[in-house]
């Protein structure tokens, strides 16, 4: 990790500054009773001057769009909001990489969408590497690269388009195709010559309209 070995004990603290982790249960990772103080927890541990902490907290809360909740108590927020606060707490430490460890598993669909949108924006606009650990294949389909692990070993690796071309291998890992990929497979089996590797609804719609346009004389 950034030239540091994660197995090297003295380097662990430096690694923790560069890599942020968001965990599954949003309740068990918020330390403070007020949102902004929780976000400040990480930078405080880094020993930053108060003005700098304040600046980073404001910025991190703005990025996850939780600025208006800064004085709220975490236990009054929804699951998706708590996870966004947790993400802000990590962002305030200015990491290079953000690991989400099943961070969407305990959320309702709306909370899940909030977190995924936030994370996608971080990746696009703040240039932060996102490692999203998940069992939800439609979330995995959003990634640039998928790594499937089984018993601690990498068993499948590649861009989603490639990985989801191997339904047999996925089934052996007890994973399903994401819904859109499954639909595409069904359509192809029914004789529809779809091109490309549509993985989202939008991409599928594009592929279908492309097909329709090509068929029209």
């Amino acid at each position: 990790m950034d030239g540091l070995d994660t197995r090297d004990q003295p380097a662990v603290w430096q690694v923790r500054q560069r890599v942020g982790m968001v965990f599954q249960n949003p309740d068990n990772q918020l330390v403070a009773t007020v949102v902004e103080e929780d976000v400040a927890f990480g930078p405080e541990n880094l020993g930053l001057p108060p003005a700098e902490i304040r600046r980073r907290v404001e910025e991190a809360l703005r990025v996850v769009e939780m600025g208006e909740y800064r004085h709220h108590a975490p236990h009054l927020l929804s699951g998706g909001q708590k996870q966004r606060v947790a993400i802000a707490g990590i962002l305030a430490m200015r990491p290079m990489c953000l690991i989400l460890d099943e961070a969407t598993a305990m959320l309702d669909p709306q909370g899940r969408a909030e977190v995924l949108q936030t994370v996608a924006r971080l990746n696009r606009e703040e240039d932060i590497t996102i490692v999203h650990i998940t069992h939800a294949m439609e979330e995995a389909a959003l990634a640039r690269r998928i790594i499937a692990l089984a018993a601690g070993r990498i068993v499948l690796e590649g861009p989603p388009a490639e990985v989801f071309e191997q339904p047999e291998a996925l089934r052996r890992l007890r994973l399903a195709l994401p819904p859109v990929a499954a639909l595409v497979r069904g359509l192809r089996a029914a004789g529809l010559p779809l091109r490309g590797h549509p993985l989202t609804v939008d991409q599928l719609v594009d592929a279908l309209t492309g097909l329709a346009a090509a068929r029209r004389p």
């Binding site: 965990f23 330390v31 403070a32 009773t33 990480g42 405080e44 975490p74």
Partner: protein, 273 residues
């Protein structure tokens, strides 16, 4: 059964008032002085004045007075017990007997004594609840940490104590929610919590406490991991976003409360009116 609605002790009510903005060290100090004052006062007039000033402080802090009453709910039983015990067994034989119940006599002295002690308890709780309503747990622990800093050399782990307390406060609502969930789950399987004598009710709590403890330990474990992942390694080298700083309002609060306490103590021990 909404536990969260009934328990209000130790809950912070964010407002933008002068009282909220006071330095937590000031509030700890003033609350301590208030405790002293409550124990020093020995007449109803004094308590009347004190109650009036507490009401004033609640208004100043923009906390509805209903919250003061809410804080008393958990000690209602204790309050009643204190009142009854003082009423019958205060040992005050003099005074006009008001009621005779067999061997038990209620004298006017005992009545006023019982009312006084109960009032003392009420004032103590109301004063401390004003403190917790207006002081965020983080501010409270910051204040404690700072106040304990001089004692670190003799081995008082100020930072650790403060951190423990703030986490405990942070998890009160979470664990209350959890208790509620477990109770509902056990009730769905036929458990009864409201019936039977005291022993049976206590026994019925067991299927709540065991899962609660298991889950609390799991939470603690995950929280520790999350804190370490955010580079926490104790108080060493840690800075704060909100550095504590005394302001003019703190000076005012200190002067007023120290002066009032001094006057009271002087009048008490020097026999001044």
């Amino acid at each position: 059964m909404e536990l969260t609605r009934y328990v209000s002790i130790g809950q912070y009510l964010p407002r933008d008032s002068v009282v909220h903005r006071l330095d937590p060290r000031t509030k700890i100090g003033v609350t301590t002085l208030l405790m002293v004052v409550i124990f020093v006062i020995t007449d109803f007039t004094g308590y009347g004045l004190l109650a009036a000033s507490l009401v004033g402080l609640f208004l100043l802090a923009q906390i509805p007075l209903g919250y003061a009453a809410r804080g008393l709910r958990p000690i209602l039983f204790l309050l009643l017990l204190t009142f009854v015990l003082n009423l019958f067994f205060s040992g005050l034989r003099e005074g006009t007997p008001l009621v005779r119940l067999g061997p038990l006599v209620i004298t006017s002295e005992a009545l006023s004594r019982a009312a006084f002690i109960s009032l003392r308890l009420v004032l103590l709780v109301v004063a401390t609840s004003l403190f917790t309503y207006t002081t965020s747990p983080m501010a409270l622990t910051d204040g404690m940490e700072r106040l304990l800093r001089p004692f670190r050399r003799i081995g008082v782990p100020g930072h650790e104590l403060a951190m423990m307390m703030s986490i405990a406060l942070r998890f009160i609502p979470t664990l209350l929610e959890e208790t509620e969930r477990i109770m509902k789950a056990q009730m769905a399987r036929g458990a009864e919590f409201q019936r039977g004598n005291l022993l049976r009710r206590a026994r019925a709590m067991l299927p709540i406490l065991v899962p609660l403890f298991v889950s609390a330990f799991r939470r603690a474990d995950e929280l520790a991991l999350a804190m370490e992942a955010r580079a926490y390694r104790g108080g060493e080298g840690r800075t704060r976003m909100k550095e504590l700083a005394f302001a003019a309002r703190d000076a005012v609060a200190w002067i007023v409360s120290v002066f009032a306490t001094a006057v009271l103590l002087a009048s008490r021990w020097l026999g001044l009116p």
